[in-house]
């Protein structure tokens, strides 16, 4: 099953140039029905088989990291949520954790109830994100009934999120020093009820996925990523777990409520067929687990305040905050300088880590399967486009030069000598 299907066509005996076997290039994106976001993939194909795939990122570059330096910490929470609309909460958790770790140097500690509420919202977000992905994947393989059904069930989670935070997408529930809103008894009862329904529905979908031929025939043996390759290319999140690697930041480097007694009932879900099917199963099982965690957290919610007023200035520190986003490991690096604004904020997102794996997965697959393979890592390009690559006009000869100051000066003199009429 796991064998790669690279087919080499022998050259025909006639010397005609037109019949010579050669690779063809197919551009995919930036505007493409399969991709919801602007992203470009250059597929080199031999007949129907993809030989090489080159991702080209950067269409969603908005300059968020530079903007973050001009805003205060609580303003930055609003900004950082807009990095990605699907996993908005986990970005704000990362920044809040980083800020509170820096404030911890002065003895500041956020209340326990707030940490539990944050964890509940992040698990709810994982549920809605994975169901969303499941629907999109079903749409990519042409199973639109499942797409509609799963998105109908996603609305339950969206209702809960709207109920407890007031918004469907950007929840804005975090604040440096706690959370903005508390959970009431009525909300907790409603969440328990909805979680039960979601678990029931998801168990049904898992059954369908394991038995239904429509899904199995389109996903098994496609987009294979062997564990050794996944390790070599630094795959993260469900993509790595579907290749049998036991990686999960919630377990390996626990934060918030994961560091508490929740760790005892925590399961890291892996599956070992290494293909798209494996990723479907891992995500479905993760949703059921996440529902159980939400129920556990609600049952063990500690009492106390949800917000303690933090000091306005954050002491000088370099903080690396790691969290498990729905797509994998998310890293926020914060450099504070004893003011109310960060000196530097660097964000590294899971899709950036997985994009090389996708290029590897696409090799040897058919063109028709390229969309589901692309979708299988749950790409979120709006997360990752925070880097600029300098690319020549010929895309394949991408080159980034590191010039010294003298070389740069020389280059600028030459350039201005060539372009004398150039004005600002």
């Amino acid at each position: 099953m796991a064998e790669k299907k690279i087919v080499k066509v022998d050259a025909p005996k006639t010397g005609c140039v037109a019949c010579m076997p050669r690779t063809m290039e197919i551009p995919l994106g930036p505007q493409h029905p399969a991709l919801k976001e602007p992203e470009h993939f250059l597929l080199e194909v031999e007949g129907e088989v993809i030989v090489n795939a080159t991702p080209r990122i950067g269409y969603v570059h908005r300059g968020i990291e530079k903007l973050a330096e001009t805003k205060t910490y609580s303003q930055n929470l609003t900004l950082v949520e807009r990095v990605c609309g699907i996993c908005s909460h986990i970005h704000s958790i990362s920044l809040v954790n980083a800020t509170e770790t820096a404030l911890g140097l002065e003895g500041f500690k956020p209340p326990e109830r707030a940490e539990y509420i944050r964890t509940i919202v992040s698990e709810l977000e994982r549920i809605h994100s994975h169901i969303l992905w499941f629907g999109v994947a079903a749409h990519e393989i042409g199973f639109d009934t499942l797409f509609m059904l799963s998105w109908r069930d996603r609305e339950l989670t969206m209702d809960i999120l709207e109920d407890i935070s007031g918004n469907r997408v950007n929840y804005a529930i975090n604040e440096v020093g706690g959370t903005r809103r508390d959970l009431s008894e009525k909300q907790i009862a409603r969440m328990n009820k909805y979680m039960d329904i979601t678990i029931k529905r998801l168990k049904r979908y898992t059954e369908i996925c394991l038995k239904e031929d429509t899904i199995r025939l389109r996903t098994q043996g496609i987009g294979v990523l062997l564990p050794s390759t996944a390790k070599k290319l630094c795959a993260v999140g469900p993509t790595a777990r579907a290749s049998g690697l036991k990686i999960d930041i919630r377990y390996d480097d626990p934060y918030n409520a994961y560091a508490g007694p929740l760790r005892d009932i925590f399961n890291v879900i892996t599956y070992d067929t290494n293909d798209v099917f494996s990723r479907v199963v891992v995500r479905l099982l993760e949703i059921i687990e996440a529902c159980k965690y939400v129920k556990w957290l609600l049952a063990n919610l500690p009492d106390g305040p949800v917000f303690i007023k933090p000091p306005r200035k954050v002491p000088e520190a370099h903080v690396l905050s790691r969290t498990e986003a729905p797509r994998g490991e998310l890293i926020h690096y914060l450099w504070s300088n004893n003011t109310n604004k960060p000196y530097r904020l660097k964000i590294t997102t899971p899709t950036l880590a997985n994009i090389l794996s996708v290029a590897e997965m696409l090799k040897g697959d058919y063109i028709a399967d390229s969309t589901i393979t692309l979708a299988s890592i749950d790409p979120c390009f709006s997360c990752e486009d925070r880097i600029i690559t300098i690319i020549n006009k010929d895309r394949r000869k991408a080159k980034v030069d590191n010039l010294t100051m003298d070389q740069l000066r020389k280059y600028s003199r030459e350039w201005h000598a060539k372009n004398k009429r150039w004005k600002k």
Partner: protein, 177 residues
């Protein structure tokens, strides 16, 4: 004359009954895109208005654009607009698409899509709720039928007016006390 009138009526009717949309993301954060897809799913079910998402700009009547039109997407957005056959309508979904939103003051000018292509309907919100998107599309359909729609000219909005009024009120309170 009568025939022309009847033909016009039929054309407008068919346009209103089946607007096919093309969804373009010009560098948004995915929030609006998910809400646009959400509108098509069972709870909101916008297909009852005859709206179908199309993959190609050649088949589309309405461009639903999200995102602040980043530097790299500007030329592509223009290209997509030129490829769409006449008559074409543009709906800007979300604060980013309307004005650049939170990314407006970035070092790259993300000023919203109306700096690139003409826009018919603006739907503000970060992100707008599915109900708001449906309302926006309904406004577009009303516009096609020639009904009256609310028009707000952004150049006429005085952003500081409210602040000044509030200041005046404060002063009045202070003087009366």
């Amino acid at each position: 004359m009568v025939l022309k009138k009847i033909v016009n009526k039929i054309v407008t009717w068919s346009r209103v009954k089946s607007p096919w949309i093309l969804h373009i993301n010009t560098g948004g954060c995915n929030g609006c895109d998910i809400e646009v897809v959400d509108v098509l799913t069972p709870r909101y079910d916008v297909e009852r208005f005859g709206i179908v998402i199309q993959g190609s700009p050649r088949h589309a009547d309405v461009l639903v654009v999200t995102g602040p039109a980043t530097q790299q997407m500007k030329s592509r957005l223009k290209l997509l607009y030129e490829q769409t056959p006449e008559p074409k309508f543009v709906v800007a979904v979300g604060a980013c698409a309307c004005s650049g939103g939170i990314f407006r003051h970035s070092y790259i000018p993300n000023l919203g899509i109306d700096t690139v292509i003409p826009v018919d309907v603006y739907i503000p919100g970060c992100p707008p709720k599915p109900e708001a998107i449906i309302f926006g599309i309904a406004q577009l359909l009303a516009k096609l039928q020639g009904l009256e729609t609310p028009v707000i000219d952004p150049s006429n909005i005085d952003l500081k007016r409210n602040q000044l009024e509030a200041l005046d009120k404060k002063k009045e309170v202070a003087t009366t006390e």
